[in-house]
Point group: C3
Chain length 356, copies 3
C-alpha cells in the first residue's frame, strides 16, 4: 500500500524521470497533483494541449511537459521536459509514495496448514488461510481473509487483498495483485443436459478439473472472477491488467499486456491476444479470437473473430468506422422514413400523370 508522501529536490526528480529541468534543482517539492488542484510546492503534469488554460493558471511549482510542448518556464514555475509526461507522473507518484509492506510473519489468528510452505519473508495477516500443500512466495502479503487453496502456488512479491480467493491447484506468478474479493479458480459454468437424470431431467455438472494460471505482473480487480478450466488451464498472460467485476470464463486464454476494463466478460474458450484493450462492459462470445492489439469499444458484443489490430464497436461488434457511420445513419432513420413516404407519393403522382 502506498505510504504518506515524502519530499524531494527538483533536481532529483528530473533525474528520476530522465527529464530536462528548466528551473532551480535545489527547490524542495513535497507532492503531486492535478494542474487545477496543485498548490505551491507540488508538481503537476501537462500532457494534452486541451488543458493549456489550466497549465497557464496552475499554482504548481513545477510541471512535467512533453518534449514538444509549447510551454515556457516562468517565475515560480519550473518545467521538466520528458518524453512521456503521463508515465513520468506515474513514476513520480511511486517516488513520493513508496509502497510499504506489513511486517513479515504469520499472524496468530491466521490459519496455515502444517504442510503448506510460506516463505519466511511473506506476511500472512489476521484470518488469512493457506491450505495443505500450498506455497506462498517471498515478500508476498496475504491480507486479512485472503485464501490460498490446497496445492495452490502464489509467487513472490504478490499482494492478496482482503477476501481474495485462490482455489485449489491454481498457479499465480510473481508481482501479481489480487484485489479484494476477487476469485481465482471457481468452477467453470459447464453442464450437460441429461433428460434422464436419476431424479428427473437435470443439468449434469461437468467437473471442472483444470486450473487457472496467472502469469507475472498481472493485476486482478475487486470482485473479478477467473474460472478454472474444465480440463487444462485458463490463462491470464504476463503484465495483463483486469479491472473490477470482470468475468473470465473457463479455458479462456488472455495474452500478455492486455487491458480488460470493468464489467467486461469473456466467454468460455475464447482467446484474447497480446496488447488488446476491451473497454467497459464489453462481452466476448465463446470459442472466438480477439487478435493482438485489437481494441473493442465500450458495451460492444464481440460475436466473431477480430483480426489483429482492428478497432471494433457495437453489439454485434463491427469495424469502428462502419459503426460510426451506422450510428450516424441511425440518428437519421426517422427522417428517412418520412422522406421515403414522401418520395413514394411523388412517384405515384408521376406514374398517374404519365398514365393519364
Amino acid at each position: 500500500m502506498p505510504s504518506a508522501p515524502s519530499a524531494h529536490r527538483l533536481g532529483d526528480i528530473a533525474a528520476h524521470v530522465r527529464g530536462e529541468l528548466l528551473g532551480d534543482p535545489g527547490l524542495l517539492v513535497h507532492g503531486l497533483n492535478g494542474l487545477e488542484e496543485a498548490a505551491p510546492g507540488e508538481v503537476s503534469f501537462y500532457g494534452n494541449p486541451r488543458y493549456r488554460k489550466q497549465f497557464e493558471a496552475t499554482r504548481a511549482s513545477a510541471v512535467l511537459v512533453g518534449m514538444d510542448a509549447q510551454a515556457q518556464a516562468r517565475n515560480g514555475l519550473a518545467l521538466v521536459r520528458v518524453h512521456n509526461p503521463h508515465l513520468a507522473y506515474a513514476k513520480l507518484l511511486s517516488l513520493f509514495h513508496p509502497a510499504t509492506r506489513p511486517e513479515p510473519g504469520i499472524h496468530a489468528s491466521a490459519h496455515v496448514h502444517p504442510e503448506a510452505t510460506v516463505h519466511p519473508e511473506a506476511s500472512v495477516r489476521a484470518g488469512a488461510v493457506v491450505e495443505k500443500g500450498a506455497h506462498v512466495g517471498a515478500r508476498t502479503v496475504l491480507h486479512p481473509g485472503a485464501y490460498v487453496g490446497e496445492d495452490a502456488r502464489v509467487g513472490d512479491d504478490c499482494v492478496l487483498y482482503p477476501h481474495a480467493t485462490v482455489r485449489e491447484r491454481c498457479v499465480v506468478g510473481s508481482r501479481v495483485i489480487l484485489h479484494a474479493s476477487s476469485v481465482v479458480g471457481a468452477d467453470g459454468f459447464g453442464f450437460a443436459f441429461d433428460a434422464e437424470g436419476e431424479s428427473g431431467p437435470e443439468h449434469f455438472k461437468i467437473p471442472q478439473v483444470g486450473i487457472v494460471r496467472i502469469e507475472d505482473d498481472v493485476e486482478v480487480g475487486a470482485c473479478t472472477c477467473i474460472d478454472r478450466a474444465t480440463v487444462g488451464e485458463t490463462v491470464v498472460g504476463r503484465g495483463t491488467k483486469l479491472d473490477n467485476l470482470v468475468q473470465i470464463a473457463h479455458n479462456v486464454r488472455v495474452g500478455p499486456l492486455s487491458l480488460i476494463c470493468a464489467q467486461a466478460g469473456v466467454s468460455g474458450s475464447a482467446e484474447v491476444g497480446t496488447g488488446v484493450v476491451l473497454a467497459g462492459q464489453v462481452g466476448v462470445v465463446g470459442h472466438i479470437r480477439v487478435g493482438d492489439l485489437a481494441k473493442v469499444g465500450a458495451q460492444s458484443g464481440v460475436a466473431h473473430d477480430v483480426p489483429d489490430g482492428q478497432v471494433v464497436s457495437g453489439s454485434p461488434a463491427i469495424p469502428h468506422r462502419d459503426w460510426l457511420r451506422a450510428s450516424a445513419a441511425s440518428g437519421q432513420l426517422a427522417d428517412l422514413l418520412k422522406e421515403v413516404r414522401a418520395l413514394r407519393r411523388r412517384v405515384e403522382m408521376l406514374e398517374k400523370e404519365k398514365g393519364g
Copy 2:
C-alpha cells in the same frame, strides 16, 4: 437486521403515517403484505389504480390508500388515507420490523489493532478486522469478516455486512450500509504504458494514493466496488444508494440522493449529479457529467455530458424521446429497404419511358 414482526393497533398505525383512518382504531394488526398475499390481520397498500381488482379482492384488514383514491372502506376492510401510500407502507414495515443490533463489544475472534479506536457501543463480530489507526463509531456493526483498513474511518450507526472491505485511509460517514463483499477503496485502474520498461514493455502501475469518501446515509450494494482516487478523492454523496455489482471508478464524484441500479458502471473522473437515476447495466464513460436529476435508461451507454433533468436512453445514449422514435423506426428498417428498392425500380421505369 429487521426483527420478527410485532402487533399494532390500527389507530397507532394511522398516527405513525399521519394518515386518516376510516375504520376501527382498536383493531390489532400484526403484519404487512401485498394486496393478493395479505391475510386478515394484515395491512396492505394500494397506490396504483392498475391494481384495482386486487384491491377489491384483498383479504387484508386495512389498506393504505392515496388521498385521491377511488376507494371505500367496507365491512372488514379499514382504509388509511395518506399522501404517499408507498412511503407510508415503507414506514410501517419499519414499525413492524424494528431493526435489531447485536450486542456491543468486540468478539474474542475479531482482530482489533491496539492503536485502533472502536467506540464502546460498536459491535465487532467474529473474525472482523480493524487495522492500526482506524476508527469505528458508535453503534456501528462490523459483521463477521468485515474489514476496516489502516487509518480508515467509519462513522456512527453504520452496518458492514460480512466480508465488506474498507481499505486504508478511506472515510465512511454515518448511517452508511455496506453490503456483503462490497469493496471500498481498491486501487483505481490506472496504468501508463512504458515501451521501455525494465524487463520489456509494460503497463506501469500508477500508484493510487487517493481515497474514497462516502458521505452519510449512503447504501452500497453487495459486490459493489468503489475505487480510490489516483490523487484526491472518489466521492459518493449524502443519501445516494448503490445497488449490487456496481462499479464506481477512481476520481468519480456522485452527488447526493442519486440511485445507481445493479451492474451499472461509472468510468474514471466522471461526475454524476444530484438526484440522478442510472438504471441497471448503464455505462458512463470517463470525464463527462451526468447532470442533476437526469435519468438514464437501462443498458444505456452515456458517452457525452447529459444536461440537468434530461432523460436519455440507448447506446450511445440520446434523448429518450429520440431513442423511442429511432427504436420504432429501426423495427421498420427491413421494410424500408424493400420499399426503397421498389421505388428505384419505379423511378427507373419512369425514366426509361420518358427517354423512350
Copy 3:
C-alpha cells in the same frame, strides 16, 4: 473439490456411460482430454463433425462418439458409442475425478454459535461462521470464511466456498453449491422517496424483511448476488444454475432448470420460467415474465413478457428472427441513405421535366 485422476479399464468406462465398446475392454486409461491435447492412455470425445480432422489425428486411446457418428475404431483407437457424447464425457470426468470432502467437524478457529445446529458429518472450516439458530445439514462443507446468518438453513451435501454469505433466515436446499464471495440475502434495492424527511429530502429505506429460498441442486456463481424479498420470498428453482456476477433482485422468481450466464441481471419481481436460458450480460426489467424454455441472446435487454419457448435478442429484445433481419438491415443503412438521396434527385428531375 475434484481429486487427482484415477485409472480405469475401458470395459468399465463403457459400462459407466452405458456405451457400446469397439476395442479392448481390458485396456487401462488414466485420464480425459480434448481431441488435440489427449495423449495415449487418455479418453476424448467427438460430438461435432466440425472436429473430424482433430478426431482423425487424435493420439487418444479411446474416443466417445455418438451413435450415428461416421467413425471407425482403428489400431490404437478404441471407440465408445453413446447417445450423448458430451454427457458421457461429463460422467467420465466425475468417474476419473471423484469429488473429495474435507474431514467432518468444526475447526478450532470457526465460530459456531451454541444455539446453532451443525450436523456431525458437516465440515465447518477455519474462520467459517454459523450464527445463532442457524442449521447446517449433513456432509455440507463451509469453506474458510463462509457465513451462515441467524436462523438461516443450509441443507445436506452443500458446498459453500470461501466468503460465501447466506444472510439471516434465508433457506438453502440440498446439494447446492455457493461459489466464493456469492451473496444470498442482501437487502433488496427498495426506497421510497420522502421529500419531507427528518433532515431534508431522502430515499427512505424500505425494510427488506423477506428471505431468499434456494431449492435443491442449484449452483450460484462467484460474486453472484441474490437479494432477499421486501416481503415474502425471492426464489431460485430446483436445478437452476447461475454463473458468476449475476444479479437476482428482490422478489424475483426463477423456475427450475434454468441457466443464467455471467453478468446477467434480473430486476425486481420479474419471473423467469422453467428451462430458460439467459445468455451473458442480459438484462430483464422488473415485473415481467420470461416464459418457460425461452432463450435470450447475449447482451439483450428484455423489456416485455417473453412467451414460452420464444428466442429473443437485442436491446430492447425482439424475436430473434426479426433481430437478425434488423441487424442485417442496419448494416445497409448508410448505403440506404445515399440511395434515397439519389432517388430524390431523380424524382425531382422527372418532376421538372414533366413540368417543363
